[in-house]
Chain length 276, copies 2
């Protein structure tokens, strides 16, 4: 029984699930009730509580490696245990490791082993800057999802991404190359921030049915309805709308897990409305 | 006593040291004598032997995170211990963590903490694609070295890096932005592969005295003399020539550490000749 990312996410979309909860642990932001003396145990327990409260609502989880790495090996161990927990309680929910990796081919082998074999992630975010030959060790994993950064959600993303390259901005060139050359195994996706709905619409026109990972709603200020309208594919699917802080830290009290569920339901409701 | 990367590397250059040994542990390539039952212990012991044999010759060490991450938390612990060992036996040698990180600003805080505070690296390689605002948590660390990917050593690096953006290729635009806007704290450098000496020369003309990290000699086939001639700054310095596999796996026998020293001396000799 092999797990295939595109099948997993497709099945979630069939059930009307489009919210991805970003697992970005920051112990300072967690309620005091969730904290123990060990960073590792605190992060695992917090993530388990959020997963327990939301796994029937989400299309995917997206742990961001940076937030775990900040706690050293304890954090990395917590990332490993978090993904293992999701697999055990909600095997139908794919895990997208947001690590934004990108090195030369020989070196990317190491990152592929870490993300897919050691951690057991179903998908990974990667940088486009080094080109297709460098990304090949990721692309070769046909069962995994490879999400290439296209137009990122930050305020200064235009610095290079909007430079004109032969009649189109660089991010559209990235979208073209991914859709037309990199996607031989049908396992590619792109990342476009909800904070740029116009650009999201343009990218959707380029990539067809391909999955688009859309961060930037919630704390980053992107409009969920606009992101859905701009990002959905011809089948009214293809979108993975990520919210992290707005869900994880919806309450600073004992009810934080319940609050994360309510917030996830709110996002789901807004998305369902926007898809009607 | 604060450690400042630019001072450390400048002092190494003063002594005629320009070779950087890339620490890319691959247990399969290590001599059987170096292997124990634990990946962690094997990597630490191998790296210690190489560091013991070479630290008086090198300008810096460059562990590549991917090769450690491939061994999970054992590998990350080995990375931590390797950097701590270099600091204890050769505190004058800066450590450049080659992790090619790059996320939005809020998230890059986590990567900066992991690289600089947890691991204790003196410098870090980063992706340019998200722009200056995203990289700010790295740039704000004035005591650290921030090496921005510019023209990478892989065969397919032209796919995006050579696209024309207003009369120059993208990699030159990256070099300009780093030299002219990102380097407020004087802590920036760029990465240009030895496999592209012409491009290296062009980048040197743009970035002035700035350090350039030059991977790609040895196993990747870049010519060391050409890289030195093209990469040196007006003072005949400014270059960090990285060799990894060619040094680490110079011998598959018991003499692997001695062989790594001989190979490092060879590279040093070629560089010294090229600088005359």
């Amino acid at each position: 029984m092999s797990r295939i990312f595109r099948e997993l996410i497709g099945s979630q979309w069939e059930q009307g699930k489009f919210v991805c909860v970003g697992l970005d642990p920051d112990i300072e932001k967690m309620p005091s009730v969730a904290r123990t003396s060990s960073a590792r145990d605190t992060i695992i327990a917090f993530n388990r509580a959020v997963v327990d409260a939301t796994h029937d609502l989400v299309c995917a989880y997206k742990p961001n490696s940076a937030f775990f790495e900040a706690y050293g090996t304890e954090g990395m161990d917590a990332l490993h245990e978090t993904i293992a927990y999701i697999r055990s309680v909600a095997p139908e929910v794919p895990v997208i490791l947001d690590a934004k990796r990108g090195d030369i081919g020989n070196t990317n082998n190491g990152y592929a082993i870490a993300a897919f074999d050691w951690l057991g992630a179903d998908a990974l975010t990667v940088h486009p800057y080094l080109g297709a030959d460098a990304v090949e060790p990721f692309l070769a994993r046909a069962d995994k999802g490879i999400f290439v950064l296209c137009r990122t959600s930050n305020g200064g993303s235009a610095e290079f991404q909007n430079l004109d390259v032969g009649g189109m901005p660089l991010y559209k060139k990235v979208a073209h190359n991914v859709a037309e050359g990199w996607n031989k195994h049908g396992n590619c996706g792109v990342v476009v921030g909800a904070t740029y709905p116009e650009e999201l619409k343009e990218v959707r026109a380029i990539v067809g049915e391909m999955p688009i990972l859309i961060p930037g709603v919630g704390a980053q200020g992107g409009d969920t309805e606009a992101a859905v309208a701009a990002g959905k594919n011809a089948s009214g699917r293809g979108i993975i709308i990520n919210a992290a802080r707005a869900v994880l830290y919806a309450s600073k009290e004992n009810d934080f897990a319940d609050a994360s569920r309510i917030k996830t339901q709110e996002f789901s409701g807004v998305i369902a409305q926007a898809l009607v």
